[in-house]
């Protein structure tokens, strides 16, 4: 509530909401998916649902890297790190994510050498400071973080750093959107495209989806006004029967993306034939692995990886929630066995996961609703 005055341009927010209300046809149901977990967090935090017409339904997409990582990959990473003289390094987001054998943090408590790094280049630093040990970096993320991992691997090769490798779990956003569109129980009218992923990949990769799947896509920023403007742009396209890619976040996202970042990724990574996504199953050509030239820095080729497959707890309905078929609160475990303090499913672990976001903000009447007025 205290941030009521801090929203950029409250008057324009008000006007945008009015325009959204005017454009929404009463008999029509709009299912719009925000692909990015950051957007999911923002939508809950700002209480956008409270100010949108009730027939606009926002579906939370797969854009939370921690949430879509199959549990078995965590166990695989931990299995590598359970060998003598191996240091497990990862971003802080990963530390509490449960594998079947416990989270990295729990393994640390049992004696594993687990370190938080905030940048992949710090994992290199760790390797240099510990020449008698092997540092494995558990790499995760969409195209926002993949170029940083790529550059780090290139530097490791340049410096002939032998005691460093990357356990690569990087995934790409476009195949996930296509998989969602292929899923028969999903009927999405349009997409709010990810903001920071698009600073890297630009807007061009979405053109294929817009043209072939005939769905409008608007790349969006993270402020309330950004998201509302993006929803308005989608509604305008839907009304006009259009399906094109638009860029609401021009102030940050260039249409062509970040060429240097794309080049680094292309140099180091190649597409895996297929990769498992939690909740979405196997998606072809949806994830990255290191090219042969970088095999020496690939944890999966350097160490025997058990290839652990873990099914989610039967009662947990992460998959349905992830695909937007169920709302978080409709899962049997939500808020009971599964809470942010004791997460059973990954959607509850990360603040960008829809369950954690829903849990934190569900009952919150936000300042934005008060600013812009609840629609009649």
């Amino acid at each position: 509530m205290k941030f009521v005055d801090e929203f950029r341009n409250p008057a324009l927010i008000h006007k945008t909401v009015e325009e959204i209300q005017r454009l929404t046809e009463p008999g029509r149901h709009y299912r719009l998916m925000e692909v990015c977990g950051g957007h999911t967090h923002a939508i809950y935090r700002f209480g956008l649902k409270d100010i949108l017409p009730p027939n606009i339904e926002l579906i939370h997409g797969p854009g939370c890297p921690v949430c879509v990582l199959p549990m078995g990959r965590i166990d695989d990473g931990l299995a590598i790190a359970s060998r003598p003289n191996v240091i497990f390094s990862a971003f802080g987001d990963m530390m509490r994510v449960p594998g079947a054998s416990g989270s990295p943090l729990e393994h640390k408590a049992r004696g594993m050498d687990v370190r938080i790094v905030y940048s992949p280049s710090d994992a290199i630093k760790l390797a240099k400071a510990n020449p008698d040990k092997h540092v494995m970096f558990f790499a995760i993320g969409f195209e926002t973080t993949a170029p940083s991992t790529a550059l780090t691997v290139m530097r490791a090769r340049q410096e002939h750093l032998e005691n460093f490798s990357v356990f690569c779990n990087h995934v790409t956003i476009i195949p996930a959107i296509r998989a969602i569109l292929d899923s028969p129980d999903m009927r999405i009218g349009g997409f709010i495209g990810p903001g920071h992923v698009s600073t890297v990949i630009g807007c061009r990769p979405y053109e294929w989806i817009a043209a072939n799947e005939r769905k409008p896509i608007v790349v969006s920023g993270f402020e309330p006004l950004d998201l509302l403007q993006s929803i308005l742009m989608l509604l305008r396209q839907l009304k006009a029967g259009e399906h094109k890619v638009e860029n609401q976040y021009k102030r940050v996202v260039p249409w062509e993306g970040n060429i240097a970042a794309l080049r680094a990724m292309a140099d180091v990574f190649e597409l895996r034939p297929y990769f498992e996504w939690r909740g979405l199953g196997f998606i072809s050509q949806s994830a990255l692995r290191l090219r042969d030239e970088y095999a020496e820095w690939d944890s999966e080729r350097r160490f025997a990886v058990p290839g652990i497959r873990v099914t989610d707890p039967k009662a947990a309905q992460c998959g349905e929630v992830l695909k937007g078929v169920l709302k978080p609160a409709q899962c049997k475990l939500f808020g009971k066995e599964c809470t942010p303090e004791h997460p059973l499913g990954a959607l509850m672990v990360s603040s960008e996961g829809s369950c954690a976001a829903y849990y934190s903000y569900e009952h919150r009447k936000t300042a934005l609703a008060m600013t812009a007025g609840t629609p009649a």
Binding site: F3, E6, F7, R8, C36, G37, G38, H41, A42, R45, F46, G63, C64, P65, F91, G92, D93, R115, I116, V117, Y118, S119, P120, S121, D122, K125, L126, K128, A129, N130, P131, K133, I140, G141, F142, T144, T145, P147, S148, L151, R155, H196, V197, T199, V200, G221, F222, E223, P224, R251, V252, P254, N258, I259, A260, A261, A264, S351, E352
Partner: protein
């Protein structure tokens, strides 16, 4: 991880690949400029940072807006924690060897610890 952190370049460190010291709300750390080659970033420029790498050049106004967005999202503290974490302290580096780059200007106080 997915939300970018805005910072201002206050010093270029060309010797060590392409890195710069950036100021994020008073905290100064080294970030990597290797993914920004085309934009030719210089002192005084504002950049958006992901996991220790500058990913795009932005205007000062947009940097202020992004800082505000992080605050609105309740993410300021974790963003600052991330920035403070860039570059390890000698303690974090491990029991024995002190990485010589630890006492770089990007990480004040590190050399003494």
């Amino acid at each position: 991880m997915c939300l970018a952190i805005p910072g201002k370049i206050v010093e270029l460190v060309p010797a060590n690949h392409a890195t710069a010291v950036v100021d994020v709300a008073g905290v100064r750390r080294r970030v990597d400029l290797g993914l920004l080659e085309k934009e030719n970033p210089g002192i005084g420029d504002w950049v958006l940072i992901h996991v220790g790498f500058a990913m795009s050049k932005i205007s000062e106004e947009d940097a202020a807006e992004q800082m505000k967005t992080l605050a609105l999202l309740g993410e300021s503290e974790s963003a600052m924690q991330e920035v403070r974490g860039y570059g390890l302290t000698s303690e974090e580096c491990g029991e024995g060897t002190l990485d010589p780059s630890c006492d770089a200007k990007g990480r004040p106080g590190c050399a003494q610890s």
